[in-house]
């Protein structure tokens, strides 16, 4: 899951997937603005066949937030 998330995020940022960690910040470290994050979430929805409500997107601060949410969602 973590690797897949990083690979998708690397499409929206200059940072390489292998340089990302669970603590990497989307805004400060990856330079992803709110619209970049929304676009990445659309890719997650396609990749993992789930739906992420808009409100949850605003709470994503780190890659770990995304991974934990997706893992929780896929278990549920």
């Amino acid at each position: 899951m973590f690797e897949k998330v990083c690979k998708i995020l690397s499409e929206f940022t200059e940072t390489k997937a292998e340089e990302m960690t669970m603590e990497t910040l989307l805004l400060s470290d990856l330079d992803m603005d709110s619209l970049d994050t929304v676009n990445a979430v659309v890719r997650f929805e396609d990749e993992f066949n789930i739906e992420v409500p808009d409100r949850v997107i605003y709470d994503f601060r780190t890659i770990g937030d995304i991974v934990n949410y997706l893992m929780k969602k896929s278990k549920g």
């Binding site: 200059e14 805004l27 470290d29 330079d31 603005d33 709110s34 929805e45 808009d54 409100r55």
Partner: protein, 549 residues
């Protein structure tokens, strides 16, 4: 049509929001006022249905005490959000739109500060609504109950009950309290009357004409989103397609086929960059660049083929887009020129919530790049305390100026000193009446020699330095400092060995063109981007000059 002055567009002068609804329901009853997609299906509400539902919901809310009071509205953009807003203001009450991205604590403080007795919330935010209800006495209505409230209200109307309080709505009736986010200082509740909002809307329409439907992308709790995104299109009687999730922007553009869009620079920049990203991915970037050169050449010869040459680009926006209005923050001229090259007229405007919010906008066929346009006919702008270049504080007077800050007498008196609203923005009017904004008064750098420098003016000079991604200029120890967040990707792509050396060289070039007192003394390079407000403006009070890096 040539870029030259021409008479204002003829627009009916509407003085209340109630009149706006009544007028449109009478003139275009069967035109869709709003449309949106739900579970893959397009849903529409005509202007006639809109009015009928506003009245029915208004009666149901009045039964629950919504009479001459204040009602907070919390939720994502939706038809029910808009319906709630109109039902509240149609019942002589004031709506208090809430920024849903604020923390629960901030939302509670804001609702307490505004003196709201009622809250209308979307189910998405029911947890916040619960916290609000636990911390204060307030009557809460979930938007998912609106259909049953409409039925209840309609039954009352059919039984002879009507909105009792809305007969007293006048131009001066308070319609909304909109909280300003502000890059510094505390939030202030800006009191806007029916007249403020309705007249600003009509006046903006006199400057700028819109044809066809729009897609609502801006958040409704912002005055620009509400006035430009909703009221302006209603004046013309077109359809407002509601984007209910930013995830669906591309799909909604294709579904709505908007002819006009009202955006903030973040959206403008993203849409523009998407054009190029798509072109690069499909290997057509080179061809696109060639077509732009060809088109620009043909334009010089008086041949305009842009809508044909860039049909595929325009189709990405639904196929009809010809006008974009940008406001809310400064916009780089690069995007204005870029969209114009595709045949889409991007017009920059200027506004401030305290002025309902639009003060000026470039006109469809009379515009100047770098300017925020011609001042609306409902207000007068004067430049206060001008310097030798005619630059000073932009002050506004007229029917669009707010009633005051809610519960803040001193702040109101200060802002409305000598009956002019002092915007705190620095700018000038040129000989053709175009307004130019050069900076913010409260960010002014006042040097020890008494000279004043607007940091934004210096920051704009970095627009032409591609290595600079973000920059904030401030004063430190009587020196002007430029703190820069460099574009690492650009440095990598162009194989720049030393970012520091390259930036210092650029600053030297900039300094050569500046008078001595404006020159930048030192450069600080930062690893992380600047902290932003929820409206994506850099929080200046957290940057170097304020000792909080």
């Amino acid at each position: 049509m040539k870029n030259k002055d021409y008479p204002l567009y003829d627009v009916k002068r509407i003085t209340t929001l109630k009149e706006l609804i009544d007028f449109r329901a009478k003139e275009s009853p069967n035109t869709a006022a709003f449309a949106w997609t739900k579970s893959g299906e397009r849903i529409e509400k005509t202007y006639k249905e809109l009015k009928s539902e506003i009245e029915a919901l208004g009666v149901a809310l009045e039964k629950r005490g919504v009479v001459n009071t204040k009602v907070a509205i919390l939720g994502e953009n939706s038809y029910y959000w808009i319906l709630s807003f109109f039902a509240v203001v149609y019942s002589s009450s004031a709506a208090v739109p809430i920024d849903k991205e604020l923390s629960t604590e901030s939302i509670i403080n804001l609702i307490k500060d505004s003196g709201c007795t009622h809250l209308i919330f979307s189910d998405t935010y029911s947890d916040i609504a619960d916290s609000i209800c636990k911390s204060m006495e307030i009557y809460a209505v979930n938007m998912k109950d609106i259909p049953s409230l409409i039925l209840e209200g309609q039954a009352s109307i059919d039984g002879g009950t009507n909105n009792r309080s809305n007969k007293n709505i006048s131009q001066d009736t308070l319609a909304a309290i909109i909280y300003t986010s502000g890059t510094t200082g505390i939030s202030k509740g800006v009191m806007l009357s029916h007249g403020n909002l309705a007249l600003d809307t009509c006046s903006a329409c006199s400057n700028c004409k819109f044809y066809g439907d729009t897609l609502l992308l801006l958040p409704l709790h912002h005055s620009f989103g509400l006035v430009a995104g909703v009221f302006v299109t209603m004046v013309y009687g077109y359809t407002i397609y509601i984007n209910t999730s930013l995830k669906n922007i591309s799909k909604d553009l294709l579904a709505a086929k908007p002819q006009s869009l009202f955006l903030v620079p973040l959206f403008v920049e993203t849409l523009y960059k998407n054009v190029w990203t798509t072109a690069e991915k499909s290997g057509k970037a080179g061809a696109l660049k060639f077509l732009i050169k060809l088109s620009n050449f043909l334009l010089k010869c008086g041949i305009d083929l842009r809508r044909k040459l860039f049909k595929s680009v325009i189709n990405g926006f639904g196929g009809n887009l010809d006008t974009i209005i940008s406001g809310g923050a400064p916009l780089s001229e690069k995007y204005i020129k870029g969209f114009r090259e595709f045949g889409i007229n991007l017009l920059n405007g200027y506004g401030i919530t305290e002025c309902s919010p639009v003060v000026s906008v470039n006109r469809n066929n009379y515009y100047k790049d770098g300017s925020v346009g011609q001042v609306l006919n409902e207000c007068t702008v004067k430049i206060d305390s001008k310097d030798d270049s005619g630059i000073g504080e932009v002050c506004v007077k007229g029917s669009i100026v707010m009633q005051g800050y809610y519960g803040m007498k001193e702040a109101t008196e200060e802002a409305l000193a000598d009956s002019w609203f002092h915007t705190g923005d620095i700018g000038y009017l040129d000989s053709d009446g175009f307004l130019f904004i050069t900076g913010r008064k409260k960010n002014l750098i006042i040097l020890s020699n008494g000279e004043n420098v607007a940091p934004e003016e210096l920051e704009s000079l970095f627009d032409r330095v591609p290595l600079v991604k973000e920059v904030v200029v401030y004063e430190s120890n009587h020196r002007i400092v430029a703190e820069i967040y460099p574009d690492k990707q650009y440095a990598e792509d162009t194989k720049i060995d030393s970012t520091t050396d390259s930036l210092n060289k650029s600053v030297s070039e900039i300094n050569k063109k500046l008078p001595k007192f404006k020159q930048i003394s030192s450069v600080i390079i930062r690893d992380k981007e600047f902290e932003k407000t929820t409206t994506k403006k850099i929080k200046r009070n957290t940057v170097g000059g304020n000792n909080n890096v």
